[in-house]
Assembly symmetry: C2
Homo-oligomer: 243 residues x 2
DNA sequence: CAGTGGTCTAGACCACCGT
DNA sequence: CGGTGGTCTAGACCACTGG
């Protein structure tokens, strides 16, 4: 491993506050200590505390009232994702109260389909590695996900595919690529025959459709995927703060 | 008007940078001036510049590379919404390249339905004002939206309902309430008979279903709504940056 | 190596809220 | 009024990237 685990002060404060919320040390509706209190207790500057609180605020975990204080949002338990993590399906399933598992259905390398070639900005004849996975929530199949990655990105020394890897870890380990941003496209669709079979659904039922395109820091597409969620079991619930 | 328009330095810098991007002064893929450059040119501190760039980064408009520079994202044109604006339907329609208009279908006050009473945390017999609106994209109906608000929140002096108001402006003007956060619940659903009629759809087609709950700064629910989008016309497309 | 963004500090003043 | 969060500054050092 050549990765150095440097964790910033802000990240440490972040983790401490999050764990206090998880552990119930800070309960929904409670007022947090003031920024100056926290900065004194942690021995860091107020600016550092503020960057952490800004992040928690953006995720809707805390609410801040000028002239009053900072409060734990009473409605976080209603939420299973924030906007920064819509494509992390395992986390999504687990924060909905299920235990998550993944089954690898298919892996193959083949020439890119037109849709894939377009999204990945590659030649139509270029080969991609294509995989199809099924995500379970407590042994109920809930998400059918397919991903295509240009074959030349894959490190040839990593022969076997591990289905369990979250997609961003997969891209790091197998492609040495860092995801910089993702473009998501959401819609509704009627279940296809194949999806119906895997997800134990009857024909004609509706599914949430998520199309994802991952890019690295150089604006280069590295992955394109299509996913279908059974929203009768798994709803996407998220907070958006006003400012 | 008792609203004082105080605009922070950061907001002004924000607006300037955004307008430069809109005007094509900064083009997709271009490198921006460095943080120190910008802070010198604007006569503000580097920290201020950084808070602005952090916001643009969170919306996926710019990409930042340590040791290199800040670049305009080449793929912003693919996107029609950012994380903070999923429920602003008029903006959504317009940034998808259509012109938006709204038709008010129905307004009534009646006792809350059980679902509404639960979400609004009111007694079942309490009256709500209920309205149903249809959003058009270039004269095509694309979104059917219904909203319920406890009647006691409505300022009795404001008698007539203006359909054109964006929902947050409506809550400010008619209820003197400030939205602090929104909880969104997304799913897919087959079109109902009523919705099919309004949206010119055939039975059985799939729709994107957005349930929204608005809360004020005191965690009090002020509005609950259900919306159905025709995603064959209007896709939700958004960027999520990694960090 | 020089220059970029990333992190952090100490301190100042302001707007706002509850009392 | 005192205390809270909101804004802003000037300056420091670090991690990383490109040439």
């Amino acid at each position: 491993m050549n990765i150095v685990r440097y964790t910033s002060i802000a990240n440490q404060v972040n983790e401490i506050l999050r764990s206090r919320i998880r552990d119930g040390q800070y309960l929904p509706g409670m007022r947090l200590p003031s920024e100056s209190d926290l900065s004194k207790k942690f021995g860091v500057s107020r600016a550092t505390v503020r960057t952490v609180l800004a992040r928690l605020n953006a995720e809707g975990i805390i609410l801040r009232k000028q002239g009053d204080g900072t409060y734990i949002n009473e409605h976080i338990q209603d939420v299973n994702t924030h906007l920064g993590g819509l494509w992390e399906f395992s986390r999504l399933i687990e924060s909905s109260g299920y235990s998550a598992s993944i089954r690898l259905l298919k892996v193959e390398t083949r020439p890119a389909e037109p849709r894939e070639a377009e999204h990945l900005q590659i030649q139509p004849e270029e080969r991609v590695i294509w995989m199809q996975r099924l995500f379970y929530a407590d042994d109920q199949p809930v998400i059918l996900a397919t991903n295509a990655i240009p074959e030349r990105f894959i490190d040839p020394e990593r022969a076997t595919i591990s289905a369990e890897y979250p997609i961003q870890k997969f891209l790091q380990e197998y492609c040495h690529k860092q995801v910089a941003y993702v473009i998501l496209d959401m819609g509704a669709t009627r279940v296809s025959e194949q999806a119906a079979e895997y997800l134990y659904l009857s024909a004609g039922q509706s599914l949430l459709n998520l199309n994802t395109n991952f890019y690295d820091r150089d604006n280069q597409p590295i992955l394109c995927g299509q996913s279908y969620l059974n929203d009768t079991i798994l709803r996407l619930r998220l907070v958006q703060t006003w400012g």
